[in-house]
């Protein structure tokens, strides 16, 4: 049983890493897309506060990016394990 699990883990690791990387990209894309879309909308409504909105959007995007990259790092580790 332990052997079977080992084989599964060994051979499916890269597959899991690939799927994980894809899911991470989907999640980050959804998140940053929302931020970018709303930021553009906000700037279109109030061009005078474009600078504030841009700064906030970059910070928020960095938060999402942090989580996404955290996932990416784990995928990288899974690939090498």
């Amino acid at each position: 049983m332990a052997n079977l699990l080992n084989i599964l883990l060994e051979s499916w690791g890269p597959l899991g890493a690939g799927i994980g990387a894809g899911l991470v990209a989907i999640g980050a894309g959804l998140g940053i897309g929302q931020i970018g879309g709303r930021a553009a909308e906000g700037i279109a409504r109030q061009p005078e506060s474009a600078n504030d909105i841009r700064g906030t959007a970059i910070i928020l995007a960095a938060f999402i990016e942090g989580v996404a990259l955290f996932g990416a790092v784990i995928c990288f580790l899974a690939m090498n394990a």
């Binding site: 970059i58 910070i59 960095a62 990016e65 942090g66 989580v67 990259l69 955290f70 990416a72 790092v73």
Partner: protein, 389 residues
């Protein structure tokens, strides 16, 4: 006139780059074929293992690899208790077999140094678990457990070299700019001084001031500026593809961890009564909820630094991997058309990475400023809120 010449040179460089990479990839292939005809190496060896190459590039090493067999050696400095310091250049290592390099008693295997125990006939002793038996580099765990069967490695590796280079560049830049301010007091900044002033004022006014109270902002500004410029210069040096640059300093988890721990210490040391009071004993919260809330708040302090560490590490490492992979496509597919496209694409990626270098330095500094700002805040917000209820 000179402008035209500059344009021409850059155009020539561009064409060289575009044509050069595919040709290089061809000659690489030919070289491999020559080697194949000599020895009984398996065919699979011929396949360029690019993922291993990329991992070598982003990992720390004892030499700067430039091209082919050309590399810049770096000093290896080893301290063994009882035997003292031993120092030599990493070029002193030579192959004993295909996977191992050795020099005297030292053995280099998969990026790590060992001092193996030798059998009576001079062969390397293997441990029961199949690993090398012998002394290895001291880790934090060895220091804590008091393991004596180790040596201490003070080598100037690629990352240490990159670190020293970055710091000395920073010192040169800032001492020269500071002396400019002393020699030309009360005058408008000139040249390079002007550029630095813009960046410093940006950190002061747009990063530090919005988060840290006006009374305390000057206390934390030196730390924030150091953080920003240290990360920025190491990010940019890492993007230079050959010798003095190319060390993956900010893409090394140990370095980003040190930076994140420093930021955490800033919060822990400078956190005022108000800040700790809200964490240890949140006001206006039922006792039962406190049991849940206090651990979460305590973990929350560490999590912020942890995400700082991961963010910088992953961003820079991912950038290096992406650039290397795109260039690697040229060497794997080996076609002129693909070579030209990937060359253009890698130029685009490089420019994106320059942007990322700035953004990551900015984000790290900004989030640190935010953390410190929360820790030193006098807490008028809470009182305003409670007066409304």
């Amino acid at each position: 006139m000179s402008k035209v010449r500059v344009l021409n040179i850059s155009r020539v460089l561009m064409v060289l780059l575009l044509v050069g990479l595919p040709i290089l990839s061809r000659s690489q292939q030919q070289g491999d074929e020559d080697r194949l005809s000599e020895g009984p190496e398996p065919i699979a060896e011929k396949e360029l293992d690019f993922s291993a190459f990329i991992q070598h590039h982003i990992a720390d090493d004892y030499l700067f690899h430039i091209a082919g067999d050309i590399a810049v050696p770096l000093p290896v400095i080893i301290y063994e208790s009882g035997k003292g310091f031993d120092m030599f250049l990493s070029s002193a290592f030579h192959h004993t077999d295909e996977n191992h390099l050795s020099r005297g008693r030292y053995l280099y295997h998969h990026g790590k140094l060992f001092i193996p125990d030798l059998n009576a006939d001079g062969t390397v002793q293997m441990g029961e678990d199949g690993h090398l038996a012998g002394k290895h580099e001291a880790t934090l765990g060895d220091l804590i457990s008091g393991n004596k069967h180790v040596f201490y490695n003070f080598s100037i590796t690629k990352n240490v070299f990159g670190l020293l280079l970055g710091v000395s560049l920073l010192m040169i830049i800032f001492f020269s700019v500071a002396s400019k301010y002393k020699s030309r007091p009360n005058q408008a900044p000139k040249g390079f001084q002007g550029m630095m002033e813009v960046i410093i004022l940006f950190i002061q006014n747009d990063v530090a001031r919005p988060f840290i109270t006006e009374k305390k902002v000057n206390r934390f500004l030196p730390y924030l500026l150091t953080l920003f410029f240290f990360i920025l210069i190491n990010n940019l040096l890492g993007l230079i593809p050959i010798f003095p640059g190319s060390a993956n300093v900010t893409g090394n988890i140990a370095i980003t961890m040190s930076l994140a721990v420093l930021s955490l210490l800033m919060v822990i040391i400078n956190g005022n009564k108000h800040f700790w009071g809200h964490i240890i004993n949140p006001p206006g919260v039922p006792l039962v909820v406190k049991f849940l809330l206090v651990p979460i708040e305590l973990i929350g302090i560490v999590t912020k630094s942890f995400s700082l560490m991961i963010r910088l590490f992953a961003n820079i490492t991912a950038g290096h991997i992406i650039i290397m992979s795109i260039i690697g496509i040229t060497f794997i597919i080996q076609s002129y058309a693909v070579g030209i496209v990937t060359s253009l694409f890698s130029v685009a990626m490089f420019t994106l990475e320059v942007l990322v270098a700035f953004i990551q330095a900015f984000i790290f500094t900004l989030l640190t400023a935010q953390m410190i700002g929360q820790a030193v805040d006098e807490g008028h917000h809470a009182e305003v809120k409670s007066s409304h209820h």
